[in-house]
Amino acid sequence: MRARSSGRALSTATRFPRLGALAAAVWLFALPAASEGLDVSVRDAKGRPVKDAVVYAAAKGGVAPPPTGAAAVIDQVDKEFVPRVTAVRAGTAVSFPNRDRIRHHVYSFSKAKTFEIPLYKGMPPRPVLFDKPGVVALGCNIHDWMSAHVFVAETPFFAVTGPDGKAKIDGLDPGEYDVEVWYPRMKDAPRSTRRSISVKRDKGPETSFVIQQAPAWRAWRAPAASGGGYR
């Protein structure tokens, strides 16, 4: 679990073997000169590790490589989005398979992507293309508490922190990078967290962020028993 995004890619690969294998091949072999990767840890003001924070790096003065037409998956399991935070590169098509026995109504009113998949079961007809960078907040119309975020990054270098608050950004060529962090409940704008990191060839650098968390209001969740039989 050093890099959740690659893990997620693997799991996607297991579910969709052909597509996953192709993506993995492109990822692993296209960047032979890559460094060891950038280790990032994110903690809150009290020193606790922050999970589901997105860290991303952009080469200074560099031009981002064109979108790859990648795909990602956000499941709905037990009336929750899984995962809660997904980082994708702009141009990624995200599919929202419903694993529950009941219908869901996925929507977003975010500027980066406003969409709505009215009540559906199973696999929606087509995935949703996240073509603009930005943060997209997802919800379910009939389950107020269901909430997830898609971080649409311009850069291909990003990772999501695990429960230990750590993430590793892979695939970085040696050079100077601007590194930022985004978190759904972050108080300040991501730009304020920006810092310059110099990536060497041999040993990957490490950096850590301390972020201020804003209070998180969540809608009340209906008791499990009511929908237990429809998972």
């Binding site: 919800g139 909430s147 209070p215 809608a219």
Partner: protein, 662 residues
């Protein structure tokens, strides 16, 4: 000035002394009945008053305690009701906030659409104000003031409170244009917080009336104004107390708000949910003390009536019981007064078994005894002279006497036998009684004592049993008075055609034995001795000398205040010693000069007679007889001188004349 000041000072002092005395006299009840009544009534009032006061105090305390307890309950009920209302409002707001259609409308970012949707909501839940605020506290829409869009949200504290809460919700009482609203804030989640939805419900008298219905207390809501005063914005109180309440609120410190004011209401101050941490808004819960005391007032009225009735019964009972004692006592007192006056006639029999009955019985016995004694005394007074009766009653009566100097007066009527002739005994007795009554009056008037009546004769005593310093004079004055009384009686007799009465009186003073004489069962108080006999003899001598009164030398010596004419020196029967006898002519200063001249001339003649110059004496007596023919004395001496001339006495003649007859 000092002289003027003094009387004032004295008067003042008198007043000072007088006031407590008057009070004391007021407190000193004259009659037993009033004392009894005052005691009973006082006791009754004391007991009743203390009962009344303690019951009153207990009731008021009880009422206060009950209200206090009720207010405690009311306060928690109020708080719960208010909270529930808030929850209900919050629930409504939440439903609105999670409405997908609204979220969609919000996502349009079109102000008109959003405002319109809000107005629609307002109508749906019957709210009075709906606002939408951005997370950065800028007003997005306000149904009451559409034009305020873009300005800062008017209740930033509300948003702060919401941010601090778990679910981004808050409630508060806010004021919009001086009207109070209960405002709830919920986040608009899409699904992340996008904005804050504020829903407000007007707080007015309708709400307080509703709360009153639940809590059965007066509910008033007040707001603290900038200058520390209180502003009432909703209340169930009627006009007067409603106006007063804001000024009755004391202590504006945090949490320490209390209500002062009158006794009408007991109050409790509660900070309603959303009232602010500094108690900017308070609810005053009040219960009427008057209302709570109403049953007590009814009880009080009943007690007052009961008090009045029982006081009247006590009064009546006291009077009745008092009367049973005082009436017989007063009757006894009245009877005692009458008895003091000598009236024994009233006889009252009270048939009672109690102490009063005993008293009455004893009293009756006593009256009987007293009446009997009085009757005896009366009788005795009539039979014997009053002082003797007194003497007899005051001492134990026993035979025997004492020697004492007594002046004895004997009187006898002349020609009484002639009067009796040809008259019925009844008439004679009547005449005699008239005479003796007059004579007795004179004797009594001069302090003498009638010792006995013997037919028309009277024996009177001076100096026994009572002694006076002037007993001799009293006796002589009595004799002169008796003569005057007889003159009066004779004048009356003359009118009735009755014959004229003459009287002889003999007076002598001697040491005699005075005491009770007689047998053991029948005795008299009297005097005996030679002196008594002499007095009787002297009375008899009156007719020998043609005088009405004959006084012995011993009596004359005791009564020097009279003018006397020496009658003779006599040796009466049974007496060896001669006694000089005199006729009193009147009080010494009332005798005229011609009488004194006569006495002088007579003295000279008597001197010649005593010195045995019979012829010269006879001549002088003849002269006197011519000059005073009415005086029989000169006749006697003229005869006697002529006799001695013819038949001179022996050489041992001492000038006295011996009467051999009785």
């Amino acid at each position: 000035m000092a002289g003027l000041a003094r009387p004032g000072g004295v008067r003042r002092r008198v007043q000072v002394i007088g006031a407590p005395a008057r009070i004391r006299s007021l407190l000193r009840f004259r009659s037993f009945q009033s004392r009894l009544l005052v005691f009973f009534l006082g006791l009754f009032v004391l007991v009743q008053a203390s009962v009344f006061l303690s019951v009153n105090a207990a009731n008021v305390r009880n009422a206060r305690q009950q209200i206090d307890e009720a207010l405690d309950v009311t306060a928690s009920v109020f708080e719960r009701v208010f909270r529930e209302r808030t929850h209900r409002l919050l629930g409504s707001a939440r439903l609105l906030a999670s409405d997908f259609a609204f979220k969609k409308a919000y996502a349009t970012r079109d102000h008109g659409t959003i405002l319109s949707a809000l107005e629609n909501f307002q109508g749906r839940i019957g709210a009075d104000a709906v606002m939408l605020a951005a997370l950065d506290r800028v007003l997005i829409a306000d149904t009451q003031h559409p034009q305020r869009t873009g300005t800062s949200f008017p209740f930033p504290d509300l948003i702060s409170a919401a941010e601090e809460s778990e679910r981004g919700e808050a409630e508060a009482v806010v004021f919009i244009e001086s009207r109070a609203y209960q405002m709830v804030v919920v986040p608009l989640l899409a699904p992340m917080p996008e904005a804050l939805l504020c829903v407000g419900f007007l707080i007015d008298d309708r709400l307080t009336a509703e709360l009153q219905g639940v809590t059965s207390s007066h509910v008033s809501l007040l707001r603290k104004t900038g200058d520390g005063k209180w502003d009432l914005f909703a209340s169930t109180l009627p006009g007067g107390p409603r106006q007063r309440l804001p000024s009755d609120i004391r202590g504006t410190g945090d949490g320490a708000v209390s209500v002062g004011g009158g006794e009408e209401y007991l109050s409790r101050v509660v900070v309603p949910p959303g009232g602010g941490r500094g108690a900017e808004v308070i609810a005053v819960l009040q219960r009427s003390l008057i209302e709570a005391l109403r049953p007590h007032r009814r009880l009080q009225a009943a007690l007052a009536v009961l008090f009045g009735v029982s006081a009247a019964v006590t009064l009546a009972g006291g009077i009745a019981i008092g009367r049973t004692v005082t009436r017989p006592v007063l009757a006894l007192a009245r009877r005692a007064r009458k008895i003091e006056e000598g009236d024994y006639s009233e006889q009252e029999s009270v048939e009672r078994a109690d102490e009063i009955g005993h008293l009455n019985k004893s009293f009756n016995h006593m009256v009987k005894g007293l009446a009997e004694r009085d009757r005896v005394r009366d009788l005795l007074g009539k039979v014997v002279s009053a002082p003797i009766a007194e003497e007899l009653l005051s001492k134990t009566i026993e035979l025997g006497g004492e020697e004492r100097e007594v002046t004895i007066l004997f009187s006898d009527l002349r020609d009484f036998t002639a009067l009796c002739e040809g008259r019925s005994p009844k008439d004679i007795l009547s005449l005699l009684n008239t005479y003796l009554t007059r004579i007795s009056a004179v004797i009594d008037g001069n302090g003498g004592i009638v010792d006995k009546f013997v037919g028309d004769a009277v024996m009177a005593l001076y100096g026994a049993p009572l002694r006076h310093a002037d007993d001799g004079e009293r006796a002589v004055r009595t004799a002169l008075g008796m003569m005057m009384a007889l003159e009066g009686l004779n004048a009356e007799f003359l009118e009735q055609g009755l014959p004229r009465l003459g009287m002889g009186i003999g007076i002598n003073t001697a040491v005699v034995v005075a005491g009770n004489m007689g047998s053991l069962t029948r005795m008299n108080y009297t005097v005996i001795g030679d002196g008594v006999n002499l007095a009787s003899r002297l009375e008899g001598l009156c007719k020998k000398y043609g005088v009405s009164i004959v006084v012995s030398e011993t009596t004359r010596a005791l009564a020097p205040g009279f003018a006397y004419m020496e009658l003779d020196r006599v040796r009466v029967k049974g007496k060896s010693e001669p006694v000089t006898i005199y006729e009193p002519l009147g009080e010494g200063n009332r005798v005229g000069p011609h009488v004194l001249g006569e006495i002088e001339a007579y003295g000279e003649a008597l001197g010649l007679y005593r010195s045995m110059q019979w012829e010269r004496a006879g001549a002088r007596f003849a002269e006197l007889k011519r000059e005073f023919p009415e005086r029989f004395l000169y006749h006697v001496y003229l005869d006697r001188a002529a006799e001695f001339v013819r038949n001179p006495p022996g050489g041992d003649w001492d000038g006295s004349y011996t009467f051999s007859e009785k």
